[in-house]
Amino acid sequence: MNLDTFYENTWCPGCGNFGIFTALKEVISSLIEEKTPKENIVITSGIGCHAKIADYLNLNSFYCLHGRPVITAEGIKLANPKLKVIVCAGDGDAYNEGISHLIHAAKRNIDITVLVHDNRNFALTTGQFTATSPKGFKGPSTPEGSQEEPFDPLKIMLASGATFIAQGYSAKTDHLKNLIKQGILHKGFSFIDILQPCMTYSPKAYQLYNERIFEAEPQNLTSEKEALKKINQWKFGEEIKIPIGIFYKIQKPVYKIRNYD
């Protein structure tokens, strides 16, 4: 199924966004084949390199403000619960400018899927540090290296009440496809942090991720304790192995608005 517009793709060669784009298109194609009406799918995006996906996808979309793709998606979903709303957000969108919306969306367990294209820097503004950049990240605003430790968004999501938490890697497209599909099919708030190398501002990331990323062993997905253990294996900073996969998945009542059931 062709889901492309004819818009010129301007992502840098080797950009992690390509992998996410491919995986997402394949998942959406399979959903449509499985009888989800195409017109019921809506994409929201923030502002940043990732967000160009709104121009590239020939689907309903709202190219939102920076930091606001999650909350705009919530409004879209609340007013028409039949829609499948998928958020494409950058780490700057989701974890810096719009962190409050991400936390509250998880807290209310609204039935949307959030994909964070986490390249761990503000790439479109030429490479400043974000909330998930490693400590010591050198960018034009931190020439001596950033002083701040990154935070772990998966831990924040667990603490906020997200009912589906996963980590993916843009270069493992088949694995990622499964995560996105599971996330969209999950009834409630699903969150997937997708590690994506930025070839321009963090060129070593691709090699590092390839060396360190591994598919996590299956576990009891309803155990918060086990989820935390998985999340804590890597804390977005240290030079250790990085597990990917679904870490947490539980069922809880979904946030609904009266008169829009």
Partner: protein, 551 residues
């Protein structure tokens, strides 16, 4: 002589003076009187001094006056604070268990004893006070009993015992006449705003609590089922406006409400609504600012802000109704206008309209319809931003077969894809400018300027929003003209110039410190001869305006 009385009831927060004031208002309303209640309360939950000033009259009134005929004191502080405003023939009604006033003009009610003997709790003292007052002014027990039964669903029996005891213990002094005119419901401006918006097809209301707009959230949440609407409280005002834009993109007629500070947070979203051509109504109920300011008191300091808020060249309607009737009408109208022109709009009111209680003319609602916006005819490829002659592109919503709906915060082409080339940018900006021309034409067709008082007078007051109430009364008493611009953007230049024809002295009346309407009028070459400004966070009284104009 026109019958016109003022009753002030006051006490500490938590003593129930507001509820008692509302019951007194309803009592008079049931006797055919027109009612206006000014509520004065502080930003606290217990203690302090709160009061309601209930003015009742044969004719419609839109503000309170200084003089008080009946001072109903739940505590001693109320007497101290307000006895200077008591009319020569005025009467103080007080709690004789706490205070002793030897004065002839005062009547004590043993509030605490009565409540205690009936087995009630302290707040029920206000029931005793209402009942005593009702007896003094000659309201029949049956009238009072009927109302109290409606008002007190909980502890009804105890409240009725308290009321009956106080009623029987008090002497009648005056015989108030029942008026031979239809009784009108009494509602706050926030409530009439909701009724108007619902009548125009409101689907969704979103807000973050902020005084004085919070009443809208409460009223709509309480009546969510009856009105068949959706209501959501979200994490902050930035969330509210972005979620509202999302909901409108889905096709829901959405409104948000806040005060100045919350509106400040919404301005980035306002710009998004303009750029993405998303219909959206923002209610901005002003309070005394800057910043946190005086949260539970009034002001008209956000006019220039509402007119210019948001980055970029933004089209918008800004409408400032002057009382509860107008608020109902314009809340409906602005929702229809927002959808007709796919634009953000601001309904600019203030605490004085939001939280004051008015006799409401329900016939207003008959003038409001849910008007259908321009919808896609399902022919050819759907273009969200189709470059039409009048700049208005037909709407389609996600979920509609054959339509791909793409909204964009970036400058975009007709389909909704991002553009950066000169030609496309200019083309879209021109499309939106043509839309603005249509909005201007629309304003010409509406009653954007109201004129009151003596229409041929050479002296005229110009004011906007809630200042209409006291200014209209002052103008009528002085035999001068009053001109009130209701629509402030697009500015009704032709209409106001027509209304000001023959005026030699123009007097500006506003509750802000710098004369914001004057600055707007100056842009259109209209000069002010006298400025009457008030900025102590209290509304004007009609007599204050009269005194200043006479000087």
């Amino acid at each position: 002589m026109i019958k016109d009385y003022s009753i002030l009831i006051g006490g500490e927060a938590g003593q129930g003076s507001r509820k008692a004031g509302l019951i007194i208002g309803k009592l008079f309303s049931s006797l055919g009187y027109r009612v206006f209640i000014y509520d004065d309360y502080q930003s606290l939950i217990r203690g302090g001094h709160n009061f309601s000033q209930i003015r009742v009259s044969e004719k419609k009134i839109l503000s309170h006056r200084r003089k008080i005929d009946f001072l109903l004191a739940l505590d001693e502080n109320t007497i101290k604070k307000h006895e200077n405003d008591l009319d020569k023939k005025g009467i103080i009604i007080y709690n004789s268990d706490k205070v002793s006033l030897g004065n002839k003009k005062s009547i004590g009610i043993a509030m605490e004893t009565i409540v205690k003997e009936a087995g009630g709790i302290p707040i029920m003292g206000n029931t005793a006070l209402i009942a005593g007052f009702a007896k003094i002014v000659g309201i029949k027990w049956e009238t009072l009993e009927k109302l109290l039964k409606k008002e007190f669903k909980k502890f009804q029996e105890i409240n009725l015992i308290i009321a009956k005891t106080a009623f029987d213990d008090t002497k009648n002094l005056i015989k108030l006449k029942k008026l031979n005119q239809k009784s009108l419901p009494i509602l706050t401006g926030n409530e009439t705003l909701c009724l108007g918006a619902v009548k125009a097809g409101l689907d969704f209301y979103m807000a973050y609590p902020m005084t004085p707009a919070t009443g809208i959230l409460h009223y709509l949440a309480e009546h969510e089922k009856d009105f068949n609407i959706a209501v959501a409280q979200l994490e902050n005002e930035i969330a509210v406006i972005n979620a509202a834009i999302g909901a409108a993109f889905s096709g829901a007629r959405t409104m948000v409400g806040t005060s100045g500070g919350g509106f400040a947070l919404m301005t980035e979203g306002l710009s998004l609504a303009a750029q993405s051509e998303t219909p959206l109504v923002i209610v901005e109920s002003q309070r005394a600012a800057p910043s946190t300011g005086v949260p539970t008191y009034t002001g008209q300091g956000d006019l220039l802000f509402a007119l210019t808020a948001g980055h970029g060249d933004i089209l918008r309607f800004v409408i400032a109704p002057g009382d509860a009737d107008e608020t109902a009408f314009w809340a409906g109208k602005i929702l229809n206008l927002s959808w007709k022109y796919q634009t953000p709009s601001i309904l600019l009111i203030d605490k004085e309209i939001s939280e004051s209680t008015f006799s409401f003319d329900e016939n207003i609602l008959k003038k409001i319809k849910c008007e259908k916006p321009l919808l896609w005819d399902k022919k050819g490829k759907y273009l969200r931003y189709k470059n039409t002659k009048n700049g208005i592109s037909p709407l389609a919503f996600p979920g509609q077969k054959e339509a791909i709906v793409k909204a964009n915060s970036y400058e975009h082409d007709e389909f909704g894809l991002t553009v950066e080339d000169e030609k496309s940018i200019e083309k879209m900006q021109n499309k939106r400018l043509r839309k603005f021309k249509e909005m201007e034409k629309e304003v010409d067709k509406l009653e954007a300027i109201k004129v009151y008082g003596k229409k041929t007078a050479k002296k005229a007051i110009v004011c906007w929003g809630s200042t209409k109430g006291p200014a209209k009364e002052a103008a009528e008493n002085l035999g001068i003209k009053m001109v009130q611009p209701v629509i402030l953007e697009p500015f009704p230049e032709k209409q106001i110039k027509k209304a000001l024809k023959g005026v030699e002295k123009l007097i500006l009346v506003e509750t802000n410190a710098i004369g914001q309407l004057e600055k707007v009028l100056n842009c259109y070459g209209i000069k002010i001869n006298q400025k009457i400004l008030k900025y102590n966070a209290r509304p004007f009284l009609p007599e204050e305006i009269e005194e200043k104009i006479k000087l």
